[in-house]
Symmetry: C2
Amino acid sequence: MKHTNGILEIPGDSVGFVTTKYYTFANPPHDLLLTSGKKIGPVTLAYETYGELNEDRSNAILILHALSGTAHAAGYHGPDDLYPGWWDTYIGPGKIFDTNKYFILCSNVIGGCNGSTGPSSINPGTGREYALDFPIVTISDMVNAQWHLVRHLGIPRLLAAAGGSMGGMQALQWAISYPDMVQSVVAIATSSSLSAQGIAFNEVARQAIFRDPRWNNGNYYHSEKPHDGLALARMIGHITYMSEKLMHEKFGRKLQNSDLFSFNFDSEFMVESYLHHQGIKFVSRFDANSFLYITKAIDYFDLRADYGGSLMKAFENVSADFLLISYTSDWLYPSEQSREIMRALRANGIHAVYTEIESDFGHDTFLLDDERTQRNVANFLRSEFDRIRNSNGYHARGI
Amino acid sequence: MKHTNGILEIPGDSVGFVTTKYYTFANPPHDLLLTSGKKIGPVTLAYETYGELNEDRSNAILILHALSGTAHAAGYHGPDDLYPGWWDTYIGPGKIFDTNKYFILCSNVIGGCNGSTGPSSINPGTGREYALDFPIVTISDMVNAQWHLVRHLGIPRLLAAAGGSMGGMQALQWAISYPDMVQSVVAIATSSSLSAQGIAFNEVARQAIFRDPRWNNGNYYHSEKPHDGLALARMIGHITYMSEKLMHEKFGRKLQNSDLFSFNFDSEFMVESYLHHQGIKFVSRFDANSFLYITKAIDYFDLRADYGGSLMKAFENVSADFLLISYTSDWLYPSEQSREIMRALRANGIHAVYTEIESDFGHDTFLLDDERTQRNVANFLRSEFDRIRNSNGYHARGI
């Protein structure tokens, strides 16, 4: 995106200006029942759509965001926007998620802080922010809330549920929770459950927030916010999103402002400045309590848990096709975790494609303009869309 | 070690009861000149020795500790000690560092908090703790301080300088700073400079301390200590000392007290409890400011820096033999960093042995009872000791 003479030039393959919409459901007494057994209602989901739903309503793709994502996946909210939506390189006319062809939907997760009901929302029971009275939500709960939105939009079945990282977890969960409603799954840089090391990193990040006195047991909405803790949490997370090699090549041991050591505790290495910058950027757009809830949902995610510890059993009733992609340098969601899912899918005779992409960019590769990821997703989607348009033949072939 | 009826049973291969000693030097105006250009004095080093210096003073081995180590490398301070020194599995009669044969010396680094001069020591200029008035120290400064102690003990030349992690950095630095005084180097799980990722982890750990309000810009010695920040710093560090595989096998996704999720923010996964335990244990024995100074020294360490960016040049005047050991699952100090040192040593025609040991235990393997590490070190030391005892023949052979 360019600004020429202060005027935003929208590229031709952009969805252009978009508006976030809101859908509220689960109005009491029809609250949303959560995995924990608690109920919550009403629930609002913020969402955006790009492209048009076709006549037979067979071209809808649900895009699922990662930890810090939002409903704003593509385009611009206005002429002053410095950056487009978080997956803009993937979504637009002629792009991978081609809005000339597909109807794209992305919603902010329940528990989030970008328009959907979460800990910073007003609790109708008290008239104040939920804060820690917000119930713990799971990846299943996020998916169940999205189900209401998908039904509301008149979509009987998703051509694809697609996402990376926590978005990939939701995509997998969609295929299991609503097997009749998911034609295909695109799950990138993800896992059927977070590793012990992943839980460890989430816990130290949460502790950075808990230990910030401004966090105040979650009650900071009318006072100073726990920016110190949230920024540190983000810094910790950011280390895990990059590969060691990328950090080495991007920063190495280079200093920020000088050739000489400062011999004090200033953050003088470029890698330190970079992390501080990431931390500071984050606090202006994210709620510390949402960070706690969403990382907890990621920690709890375990597809085996409801199936006696068997990943194969978890996929037993699934009818979707799958595309899995992992990255060689992703050490937070290592390739072996995708291969594990592949084995479980194939043991069920499910049509599943897996690509391990050589990348130095670590976990965050899925957010970048990676040509190989895009080509794989585009080919898979094209084939899925062809199949659904010829669905009798497709089912008859039993592929 | 066992307690029978409350009585400590000292194993036969233990050095038994030991006492920490102290040596003070660099009394003004003969202060120690630091890398930063600042001076400090007097300087006290806490140290322990095990075994006896032989008549020709050729059997002295200097043991160098890592980030959180102390001078107490072996034996017990008293009958109530629950644990022996930090490298007790390596040091004792008949052990790898055989105290029947070698004279073992270990000192706490300058900047530390276990008896050596550091930020928690009294600044003679003010009568109060140095806190952040303590000058930044480097690995070189640690080594220069040790040099005073080695000379004080009448050791003309070290049979070996040996350590893991930051201890390995000091061992390498000894060979470069004092080439005539080092017969051999044992450098385990170490590097010629910390990676960008390593600096990143040290920085987020330091930030955990800086952001604890009890840290109070380093002035907490007469008030509540920044235990929250220091414990979190240790938790972050501890993740990096273990391999992902070890975490998986040791904890996986197991819960601490229940089979069911708590659906709150308690630390319920075993891996979380383990990290909390490590954090809490640490604050009772370590000073937060020392953590800042020592991690900074590690970040600054770069053998190339004084040699125009050439690691080969750094070793040009070195006469020591080298044993390098790395561990396959050590992702904080990956094997490639040891291989890099090996290439520089061999380019200088230096006698150097390298072993990459298959281990699932990550960086901390060097602290464990690892038989392959011990065998490699024992063989290397035996050969070095034989060489020095026949030193004329040795030099004549030009090996």
